[in-house]
């Protein structure tokens, strides 16, 4: 303070910049390292021996990883679609219906999987499925049971995303449609749905990536022969460093980066379009 306001402001600016840069470096360093070492010619970890694509070539014939990837993509697609449907219904119930029997229990159950340790959720689901299997003879542990687990988690995330959007909506638009004689389902499909499409898309992407990444629930709920990609990666990573894991990681990072960039571009474009439409509507 004694050295004058100009100097202290400059120091503050530099301190702020330095803190942010260091923070981002911390967040991105591991991702950069993963990508760099996926091109390492040496099989000794952390020792750079020149550039090579050999770990990517090895991936092409790695049936364990390819099968895992296929299973994971199937489960992630099912999870994303199911979560968006269940999450939209749950968000609707919570936003539109302020009082119904057991609403407190319902809202508690919707958000609980977000913070509940996954080990507890996985164990309890597994014990329930085992009891059901004992009584009825099905379901066998595999794709479907993993899907149940992911759906429980995905629904919680989808509800939060859709609920936030529904809360921001102007209820007068729906009321106007009702007054003009639209049936409730027509109001939903013609008025509400177009306004929440973006949040449905982000919920879909979020739950897709969540499912594609999950280890704990999948590990509890998978059966023999149903090994998802994260389970393959986890079992290899546990044993030590493995360059094929880096190669898989790089491919996933590339796909996610492209996906996020495309999605954010589309969302930005839609927002601009909406702003233009609003301006035009106001002028008219």
């Amino acid at each position: 303070m004694s050295s004058g306001p100009a100097l202290s402001t400059r120091f503050n600016t530099w301190f702020a910049r330095g803190w942010l840069v260091a923070g981002y470096a911390f967040l991105f360093l591991p991702i950069v390292a993963l990508v760099v070492y996926s091109f390492n010619a040496s099989s000794i970890p952390n020792v750079w021996r020149g550039f090579s694509f050999k770990w990517y070539q090895a991936l092409a014939s790695d049936t364990e990883i390819l099968n895992g990837l296929w299973l994971s993509v199937k489960i992630a697609l099912l999870t994303a679609c199911g979560s968006v449907v269940l999450g939209t219904l749950a968000a609707f119930s919570l936003v539109k219906y302020k009082r119904f029997t057991g609403r407190t229990l319902f809202s508690g159950m919707v958000s609980a999987p977000l913070v509940m340790p996954e080990v507890v959720v996985g164990l309890s689901l597994l014990l329930m499925l085992v009891s059901v299997q004992r009584a009825l003879g099905f379901p066998e542990r595999g794709l479907m049971t993993i899907w149940f687990g992911h759906l429980l988690l995905g629904m919680a995330y989808a509800t939060v995303v859709v609920q936030a959007r529904l809360n921001d909506l102007n209820p007068q638009l729906e009321e106007a449609a009702m007054d003009l004689g639209a049936k409730p389902h027509q109001v939903f499909y013609l008025v509400t749905l177009p306004m929440i499409t973006q949040s449905l898309l982000s919920a879909w992407l979020l739950t897709f990536t969540l499912s594609l990444d999950d280890v704990v629930l999948s590990n509890f709920l998978s059966g023999p022969g149903a090994t998802t990609l994260p389970l393959v990666i986890f079992s290899r990573a546990r044993l030590g460093l493995n360059p094929t894991v880096n190669a898989v990681a790089t491919i996933i990072v590339a796909i996610v980066a492209i996906g996020v960039l495309v999605a954010s571009y589309l969302i930005a474009r839609a927002e601009r379009q909406r702003a233009l439409d609003m301006a035009a509507a106001n002028r008219a």
Binding site: A16, R17, L20, G23, Y24, F26, P30, I31, A33, L34, Y37, P45, N46, V47, L86, L89, S93, F100, G102, F106, M109, V110, P113, V115, P117, E118, V119, V120, L123, S124, L125, L126, L127, M128, V130, R134, F148, L152, M155, K183, P184, T209, L212, D213, V215, V216, P230, I233, F234, A237, G240, L241, V245, A249, I252, V253, V256, A257, V260, S264
Partner: protein
């Protein structure tokens, strides 16, 4: 009119009913089963029923031995305290790094804030498992972080603090475990903090300074109290999942960092002791239910305030 009313009622019932039944069947019922098994005796393959019928008389037996064992047996007790200590340390570190970070983000030029936010979310979208795995490489001999930390002699300081056993070995120690958890959960701290800090009315700070408060005093008496909701939300979002963390200790921890998540896992899959696994799970839920309730209370308050 009547028909329209009826269609509304059935539509409403379906909208609420489908997710409600799903959650009852896949969330509540499993927890009741866990609670039930935690007070049961383990049979040959499956846990015994609580109600047993002997000579035409139904008897209800609870076994609380698993809970007594958790309190007495050092294996369980230490795993619990260790999980709490590591989770608390992670939360404090995330807050120390994340608060200034979120603060500077919220005070950055408005046109840059969207990109800064995006950059925090981006690692969040890339596989958590792979990012944790990456630290395994970074902290192993000749890894980038290893060379840096050994280069500046940080390993001796860490060894003096007892976070690593011997200088020169960073992986599979409490240090690597907490580093991995801080790294993974930092965005969960930054995002709610940024949310409250970016909405703050800056005129309040000007008012404080006009009234003679130094920047430092204004920060502690105005900014920090106003961001309380963000601090609590962020801390709970870090602390609660850290207590039950399984993947990070498996990949980055060592034999001396056994946490509850792994104990549940081992009791179930290695010892085949379902009641014990369920007992540890129930104890863990009881442990996190207070911070959980606190979190929900503040979330509800924040939601009310937004309206």
């Amino acid at each position: 009119m009547l028909q329209r009313l009826r269609s509304l009622v059935t539509g409403r019932t379906a909208v609420i009913g489908v997710p409600y039944l799903w959650l009852l069947a896949f969330f509540l019922l499993p927890f009741l089963i866990v609670a039930n098994i935690s007070v049961s005796e383990m049979g040959a393959v499956y846990p015994n029923n609580l109600v047993s019928i002997k000579d035409g008389v139904a008897a209800l037996t609870f076994k609380f031995g698993h809970f007594a064992l958790i309190g007495q047996d050092p294996v369980y007790f230490n795993a619990f305290t260790r999980s709490l200590v590591y989770a608390a340390a992670t939360t404090v570190l995330c807050l120390t790094i994340g608060y200034p970070f979120a603060y500077f983000m919220a005070r950055a030029k408005p046109q840059n804030q969207a990109s800064l936010l995006m950059l925090v979310m981006l690692p969040f979208w890339t596989s958590f498992l792979l990012r944790v795995y990456a630290w395994k490489g970074l902290l192993s001999p000749d890894g980038w972080a290893y060379d840096l930390l050994i280069g500046v002699g940080a390993d001796r300081a860490l060894a003096a603090l007892g976070l690593i056993a011997v200088p020169g070995k960073l992986m599979n120690t409490p240090f690597s475990l907490v580093l991995g958890m801080v790294y993974t959960y930092l965005p969960f701290m930054i995002l709610p903090l940024y949310g409250t800090l970016s909405k703050m009315d800056l005129r309040l700070l000007e008012a404080a300074q006009d009234l003679g408060a130094s920047a430092w005093v204004a920060f502690w008496t105005v900014t920090v109290p106003l961001s309380k909701a963000g601090i609590i939300a962020g801390s709970m979002l870090v602390f609660i999942p850290c207590v039950g963390e399984y993947v990070i200790p498996e990949l980055l921890g060592g034999p001396e960092t056994l946490m509850i998540g792994r104990v549940i896992w081992d009791e179930f899959f290695a010892n085949n002791d379902w009641p014990m696994a369920s007992g540890v799970a129930v104890a863990m839920i009881l442990l996190i239910i207070v911070p959980l309730a606190l979190f929900n209370k503040y979330q509800a308050e924040a939601q009310e305030a937004r309206k």
